[in-house]
């Protein structure tokens, strides 16, 4: 109700509210980060941020959607509604951090612009479910998340009364009802994203419980509203209908009646009955559930005020609610469904048979919460403190459970920012490899070579096949498999040309292997997670950028090794990057190249 707009119309209640949000998020972060780092110390900071912000945004979205129906059932929840937009903007900020970090981590630094990659990494699968139902699980979940984030942005960007006034309350409300579309998109994003990778049933269970709570509360609230709307009385010939009896009215408290299908709020002020529209001009709050405070009808949602006689907000405010003619016959209150012209002053109707109600139940604010007042009623504050404590405990359990049940992180090592010098012989077949000179660390072993970012070996390197070189790069290792991220390829120093043939290859025989197509750079240690659907966009970019593909084969315990995929001798091998993270059955000859298992691919097929 500010006259000159401010960024935030701070008051004591809003400060308490925002401190509560910040406190709950800090505790939740402490629980989640502490448990994750304790249980899985190898978790990287960016993975922690991506997962926490996703979880926190999802939890806040559920809380936001619960506040509305809870307030309908119990007005003591109304303080949560009063400042809900701050909760919404906080939720959007968390979702935005999640989205930005995910796009940077999984799509940036490759051969395709990150935002393009978000929409095209799954291009193969957009409509594949029409051909095979089982392909539904491969729908591009990141696109769903991007759609939800766009809606949440529009809502957050217009969460100021300037927008409410200048877009018009109806359009503004319609825009903000897109939150239900966003909620559906978010659930689909999680169901076809993280839940496709996470093994524990705890995640679908928690998500299902949250969904049932929200839909159950909203449908119950909707049914309640519909029952109220059906309570209609027959209209008399002059348009007046019996709306209430004297004993149903309380001094200074409202009563909602339905006349000709329209909700009207009745108020008893100083012995006279007034009727005005039940719809607050601010956000459509139910005026009839409000009270008279300082001589004005006060909306229970955000404390907007109107005079009962003419429906106008007190100066300098300019909101006007329609008023309706009222007449009293005996103890019956009759209201016309035909509104008076806006701003028309009504005398109301004198009620001779005043109701007898105990003053402490109705006088003043009582247990009526108004956000702009300095303090909340004691009963409401105590009620919310208890519920807030319970919510905090429940959130701690949820965040701990999420940390406890999440998939273990992959266990590679990437010496990011650490440069080492390697000396050895370069070979381009079957892959770009550096066979490190004997004697030093990793001596005699083959190191797969890749470039920086999401790129394969720099093109200049393969031209030096058989040369003994010195190069600098960062080490990537996992379970004995080793890789070098080559830095500054132009500075590779050739020590000796045609240094000699590669070490003998051990042929291990032919076979068919079933496993997940991964990009070896991420799997060997650059990313955690480096497998599964959540990492799929990154794997697609790495493969299209030339990082050697690998087939991750697992045993029954979930342990796995990667077989580097290469073409048959003399034949180049290229695999469609859109097959990343899919299960393939690959037939070919298995070879050991100085300890590096390489599968010479003869054929492969996609496993459904």
């Amino acid at each position: 109700m500010s006259v000159a707009y401010k960024a935030v119309g701070w008051n004591r209640q809003k400060r308490i509210y925002d401190l509560g949000i910040a406190g709950i998020l800090l505790v939740a972060f402490g629980v989640y980060a502490g448990a994750t780092l304790l249980l899985q110390p190898l978790t990287t900071a960016e993975t922690l941020i991506i997962r926490f912000t996703a979880l926190a945004a999802l939890v806040l979205l559920h809380l936001i959607l619960l506040i509305g129906p809870l307030s309908r059932f119990d007005p003591r929840f109304l303080p949560l509604l009063y400042n809900r937009r701050h909760l919404g903007v906080t939720m959007f900020c968390l979702a935005a951090v999640h989205g930005i970090f995910s796009i940077i981590q999984f799509h940036a630094g490759g051969d395709v612009f990150a935002l393009v990659s978000v929409l095209t990494a799954y291009a193969r699968d957009y409509f594949s479910f029409l051909r095979d139902f089982r392909e539904v699980a491969d729908v591009p979940f990141e696109v769903l998340g991007l759609g939800a984030l766009t809606i949440l942005f529009l809502m957050a960007a217009t969460s100021h009364d300037f927008w409410l006034k200048n877009l018009g309350p109806s359009f503004w409300k319609l825009l903000h009802m897109l939150v239900y579309v966003a909620y559906g998109l978010v659930l689909a994003h999680v169901l076809f994203g993280a839940i496709q990778s996470e093994v524990s049933p705890a995640f679908p269970l928690l998500l299902g419980l949250g969904f049932c709570a929200i839909v159950g509360c909203h449908l119950a609230a909707f049914a309640r509203e519909r029952r109220r709307d059906r309570e209609r009385a027959a209209a008399a010939s002059d348009g007046f209908v019996l709306a209430a009896r004297a004993q149903e009215l309380s001094p200074d408290a409202g009563k909602v009646v339905v006349v000709n299908g329209e909700r009207i709020a009745l108020f008893l002020q100083e012995g006279r009955v007034f009727a005005l529209s039940n719809v607050c001009r601010h956000q459509g709050g139910p005026l009839g559930e409000g009270k008279i405070l300082n001589g004005c009808v006060t909306c229970p949602w955000h404390g907007y005020q109107y005079r009962a006689d003419d429906g106008c907000s007190p100066p300098p405010f300019a909101e006007v609610a329609p008023t309706y003619p009222v007449r009293v016959i005996g103890d019956e209150v009759h209201v016309s469904g035909q509104a008076l012209p806006l701003g028309t002053k009504s005398e109301g109707a004198l009620l001779t048979a005043l109701p007898t109600v105990a003053p402490d139940e109705t006088q003043g604010a009582g247990v009526f919460y108004v956000g702009w007042q300095k303090t909340a009623p004691r009963a409401i504050a105590a009620f919310l403190r208890l519920r807030g404590g319970l919510v905090l405990v429940a959130l701690c359990v949820v965040f701990f459970a999420a940390a406890f049940f999440q998939n273990p992180v992959d266990v590679g090592t990437f010496e990011f920012g650490v440069e080492r010098t390697f000396t050895g012989t370069l070979y381009e077949s079957p892959l770009a490899l550096l066979q490190v000179d004997p004697g030093g660390a990793g001596g005699g072993k083959n190191f797969v070579l890749v470039g920086e970012g999401k790129f394969g070996p720099p093109p200049g390197l393969t031209a030096k096949n058989g040369d003994r070189v010195r190069l600098v790069g960062s080490l990537i290792t996992r379970n004995g498999a080793a890789m070098i991220e080559v830095h500054r390829p132009e500075s590779v120093e050739v020590l000796e040309t045609s240094a000699g043939p590669a070490a003998p290859v051990v042929a291990l025989g032919n076979g068919e292997f079933v496993g997940e197509l991964v990009d070896t750079k991420c799997f060997f240690g650059v990313m955690r997670p480096a497998t599964g659907k959540v990492h799929r966009g990154c794997a697609a970019r790495c493969l299209s950028g030339g990082v050697p593909p690998g087939l991750l084969v697992r045993d029954g315990e979930g342990n796995g090794v990667v077989l580097l995929l290469a073409g048959e001798p003399g034949k180049p091998f290229k695999i469609d990057s859109e097959l990343a993270a899919r299960t393939l059955a690959v037939r070919g000859a298995l070879e050991l190249h100085s300890g590096t298992p390489v599968l010479r691919v003869a054929s492969f097929r996609l496993q459904p």
Partner: protein, 234 residues
Amino acid sequence: MKDQWVAAMWWLVGGYLAVGCAFAVPFVLRWCGRLDPSAAHGNWGFRLVIFPGVAALWPILLRRLLKQGSPVPPDAEAAASAAFLRRLHGRAFRALAVIIPVLFVVALVTRPDPQSSKIALQPAALPGDRALSAVNGLPVQLSVRGPGPGAQVELLVTAPLAEPMVALYWNPESGKETVGPDSVFLGSVWGPSKLVFPLPDRAPPGAGNLVFLSLSGDQRVLASVSLNPPTGSP
């Protein structure tokens, strides 16, 4: 969808937002006051807060400015709008109550089995009881069915293996406890499980060695078993 189409779409979005940002600067500084007197004296925080929304929704605001900054008229149909939004709210949640459970079922039914990425080459189990012999150093008991075409090796892995991937090879040369060029890859061993591998048709009865090779780390031979019938087996 081709990359260039998506790139073009992002260019359009970027262009729209760039125009929006260019519009938003004068709007938040001056023009907002023409639409809304309360905005004329708004502080800097307010102007900053509305900037993203102006950049995103600039066509609506531009249209209103071009209409001489007429204020939004009082919503005469507010009650009808409220009733419409209530009905819309009910419908939205009834739709969600149907759509989301279907998505739940579809997502859970079609999600990949996390244990399904096993190595292939696992033939059907052998019928009947078999005499088993232990493989030194590995929690594996082994028996051989044969001789002749259809000969098979049956493994009972009684505990998880220490190695992430163990391969089983048949080396045709008896007494050779290594994997050589003539060796045949029979399959991979994981456990605990019961695994059956067919021997090559060319394998003579009782000839050759079975070699268990670790495929990770240093690729060392973990164990080797001769295909000669073990002493004492029935």
